[in-house]
Symmetry: C2
Amino acid sequence: MDYKKLYSHVVSRAKASAIRELLKVTAMPEIISFAGGLPAPELFPTKDVADILQTIMKQTPQEALQYGTTEGQKSLKTQLIKMLQETEHITVEPENILMVSASQQALDMSARMFINAGDAILVARPTYLGALQAFQVAGADIIGVESDKDGMIPADVEKKLAALQTEGRPCKFIYVVPDFQNPTGTTISEERRVQILELAKKYGTFILEDSPYRQVRFEGKHLPTFYELDGGAGHVLTLFTFSKVFVPGFRLGFIVGPKDVIARFVILKQAMDLCTSPFLQLATAEYLRRGLLAQHIKEIIECYREKRDLMLETLKKYMPQGVTWTHPEGGLFLWLTLPKHLNSSELLTKAIANKVAFVAGVDFYPECNVFNDMRLNFSYSSKEQIVEGLKRLAQTIKENL
Amino acid sequence: MDYKKLYSHVVSRAKASAIRELLKVTAMPEIISFAGGLPAPELFPTKDVADILQTIMKQTPQEALQYGTTEGQKSLKTQLIKMLQETEHITVEPENILMVSASQQALDMSARMFINAGDAILVARPTYLGALQAFQVAGADIIGVESDKDGMIPADVEKKLAALQTEGRPCKFIYVVPDFQNPTGTTISEERRVQILELAKKYGTFILEDSPYRQVRFEGKHLPTFYELDGGAGHVLTLFTFSKVFVPGFRLGFIVGPKDVIARFVILKQAMDLCTSPFLQLATAEYLRRGLLAQHIKEIIECYREKRDLMLETLKKYMPQGVTWTHPEGGLFLWLTLPKHLNSSELLTKAIANKVAFVAGVDFYPECNVFNDMRLNFSYSSKEQIVEGLKRLAQTIKENL
């Protein structure tokens, strides 16, 4: 049976991720991989989780195991409202929040809610690959905005928005990862956040703010979210996830936005999967209720900071002249740039032969037109692996200079 | 900020479910509701689940709490392959299976994979509302096929397929709920299954088989799935879920189909939510590994059979002449038909005033053009509620004859 003639346009737009294919190769135990984006599993709060699960099964088993509401469990929203108020100075009500199956689902839903095939959106060059995939599936015309060590450059945002206006095309949204962006590790400065938000207002579009790493800040000033800067005036939808600060295996995140937009998201989500697991929502609510998250985030920060420091030191020690890298103030990744004549995708084959892996940067550019970057993850590998892996990587680069 | 000009076509296609709105009203404790579709929570195997969760947290906490593969956890697939072999005479390999967040996600994914706006599909009249919603979001031209007490009528399937062929339009798939269908409780006879499958082959389309209730059979012969009848030749995609036979709160289901189609689904799912919770997959795998499912299903069958019997008896006792209903051999629902001149949506307002609720049948018809049916759920209410609720319903009908 040939399904090809029955497939929709979505199938031709959904491309197998090169990274995903790569991860299979790099899963071999002899390879030191900086390719993935996994949290350090040794930090998972397994004892607390085990205890919480028992509490849920004792106290509210029937609620936990039954269907939940599409909007999300009330007890979790109560905790989130408290958390947003205390840590983000964001004041919201339950109707401003939709629980989702982690932020990838929020990205897919955002794409479906706003993008018709051919519609324009703005993203940073480079940006998170998973977001690009979700936007591509919807058929978006993804317009890259130049960025530097302070993130997206407002002048280029305005240039692109003005060009669209001249063409009579709306920009459906501006996608940003303001803090310790995946893949570069860079943070959008406060000044730029204000400027980009003003541009969104001026050109009648909104900010889609993706904040998975935000709470994992090692140093520097905690900057306000776009949502806070907007004062809840409705120009920002913000996506949070528990994947990086609690556990990814629970697949739990949430969208914060204007009530009328959230109500639309609820209707879409009902058709998509009815609801996100109430069991995992109640477990996460209990984790928050016990006040365990703040201490756990401290442990994550301490561990990842040490790993980042070690990675920065080791890079400095071994990398040849002409190689540069970012200095992220938080998160899980840094971004390494090779001399222009080197192609990181070609280098990767040689690196794997030398038993070290990374992600080539090209796929993070919507236009796939920059070839000499790579993303390095520092959260997953052990310290020994970081040193040994970077030695191998430096050696590989030197051999190919 | 006005989002209306930024929304995609999806937003206008995604309609708030009348049922969902209704469920809020009928959640009031004084109302006896036959409206929902919830499993009986008192049957949830809470003790076993609590025990299994502890085992998972002892044995494989890091795998459970980390990101999983998009395809699904190997240990669960191993159990599913065994289960499919033993209970369904279906032989598959891991690459024939994709784990999803329950069957609503599978329906949404199927819609996205196959339907471009305006594409035709066939469904039974009436059919599952959640499927209609998923297909509507994709912009499907949903063509209703007449059905009777033996399910979809093959002659009408052929008539509709032939008409599409004449128009030069493909039928993207034929959606069926073969066993104890939601909403009618009817089962497609084996003869018709064979005929409908042959028609799919003849007209170059496939069967999308949705089997959430299949294992909950009270009586009669266990019929082969379309998948089994096809002998794995690739003309059938089958959707299973644990929502009705284990717990809905885990949001876990799976798609079985040809490897090349499953591989496409995997790519789409990666863009949609990366993976379904590995934690809940491992817990379910352990439940299956311990061999607990078969006994649990027996308990569900026994309980729901008694409730169905009671509902049938009580209907017979109290319903006025001219009211008819189906006699489902399994599942959670039966379908009641009023005399033609009565409108069940109008009756519902009066029923709620009399403190009993049901779902009006009109929304289960893709054309929304039949007004005198209602769906009654017998799994959720207690026996006392069934008797008292049906008395109230019969009284309401009599008052409006």
